[in-house]
């Protein structure tokens, strides 16, 4: 079992494996996302209160989910890299960050777009949007710290510490922001929540999440391959062709 794990962590092996895996993520991802889009826009009925605007949920909620999921993946990869000194894990964390930041941006943008017809303004200090905003700051800080080092090893390890410190803070941030908004929220404002809706209306949501997860699998496989090539500049296995 350890042998397999060690083999996996070796760059040339990982590079080839990721290359083979990528299309197995990519095509199903596309299929799932298209299915979810059709289901969410066409098949699912409009919401009683929010009408067709409610369909934005099917891109907003999965984006928010992915933004948090990827942050945890990033932090776990960083921890593995730091504790067991596996360079590939650091590379995975580096590869994941821009994808996670993109989903965070999407969650914020679609949340804001959804908020306009619902609340009348482009931005509301709602618990979830505010937490997402802070999450975006955490991603940006991570990427900024990485790019501020010339030494790649130092960049890997310093940003790993930051990612771990950040992930411990995420539940604290969530809780404090939620508590803060429940204190200030006037009773008349409708929360940007998943309304209590029928199961049939949730199917496109789940399918979209699956689609996004597969997309993440594809994207990180490709980015990680690029990272491996960049880090293994002078390695001999490159010369043998792969």
């Amino acid at each position: 079992m350890w042998l397999w794990f060690h083999k996996l962590a070796s760059p040339p092996h990982a590079y080839r494996l990721l290359g083979k895996m990528a299309p197995w993520f990519g095509w199903p991802a596309l299929a799932m996302m298209l299915l979810a889009t059709w289901w969410g826009l066409v098949k699912a009925p409009a919401d009683y209160q929010q009408g067709d605007a409610f369909r934005i949920l099917y891109v907003h909620a999965p984006s928010a989910w992915m933004s948090m999921f990827i942050y945890v993946v990033m932090a776990v990869a960083a921890a593995v890299g730091l504790i067991w000194r596996i360079k590939l894990a650091h590379a995975a964390a580096a590869a994941a960050a821009p994808i996670g930041a993109s989903f965070t941006f999407l969650a914020l943008a679609t949340g804001s777009i959804w908020g306009k017809p619902m609340w009348g303004t482009w931005w509301v200090w709602d618990a979830r949007l505010t937490s997402e905003l802070i999450l975006l700051f955490l991603y940006l800080g991570y990427m900024a710290l990485r790019s501020s080092f010339d030494d790649p090893q130092r960049a890997d390890r310093a940003s790993a510490v930051l990612a771990i410190v950040g992930v411990i803070n995420v539940p604290i941030i969530h809780y404090s922001v939620e508590w803060w908004t429940t204190l200030h929220q006037p009773a008349s404002v409708t929360k940007l929540d998943k309304p209590s809706i029928a199961m049939e209306m949730l199917y496109p949501l789940f399918i979209m999440i699956v689609g996004f997860q597969l997309y993440f699998g594809w994207a990180i496989s490709r980015r990680l391959r690029g990272e491996i090539l960049r880090r293994e500049r002078n390695a001999s296995w490159l010369k043998e062709g792969g």
């Binding site: 700051f137 771990i164 809780y175 803060w180």
Partner: protein
Amino acid sequence: MSRAATTAAARLVFRRDLTLAWRRWDEVAQPLIFYVVVTTLFPLATTPDLSQLRVISGGVVWVAALLASLLALESLFRSDVEDGTMEQWVLSGQPLGWLLLAKVASHWVLTGLPLVIMAPVVGTALGLPFDAWGALIASLLLGTATLSILGGIGAALTVGVRRGSVLLSLLVLPLAMPLLIFGSRAVGMAMDGDSPVGPLQLLAAIFFLTLSLGPLAMSAAIRISVEN
């Protein structure tokens, strides 16, 4: 290394830093002056009406304390890293976390504590009522202490980076937002006549969590910054 030796070393670090700072007290005074100046900006930018300022007074004092603390944190480890002292500590075999914590503690006494002491004064200038002083001082004591440790982690990570102070703020501010929320909420509740115990307890919980895990992160970060 024995427990007694570690405590002695930590105490030595603590006293050394205080003595050094005493000779350069203008460096200590600058964050404090910045603090007062920033709080002055708010009535100038909004309104001189105390009854209106009172509403945001707790928040403004807190934000100013946050920014002033961040200003002071950038130089926390720099001189020791530059002159090689930090490398000695890493190699010394003493538990690095304790030494760093001693450094953070002395830094807090020099920068955080004065902010807390000045807080009722600047708060009153913004219309903060006397009833809220207790909540203000308690929340800032916990908050600035937590922030010193969080800032210590950030400073340890960015110690070799050029223009590290902006990066430091970018890294530490999101982590400090819960402190800000609970701290200013405690003051707000005290002003409304409610008990501020809830948010204060949360601040205390965050402080103890940071106190137990912070030194670990700091020593990991310092080792990364110092090793070649």
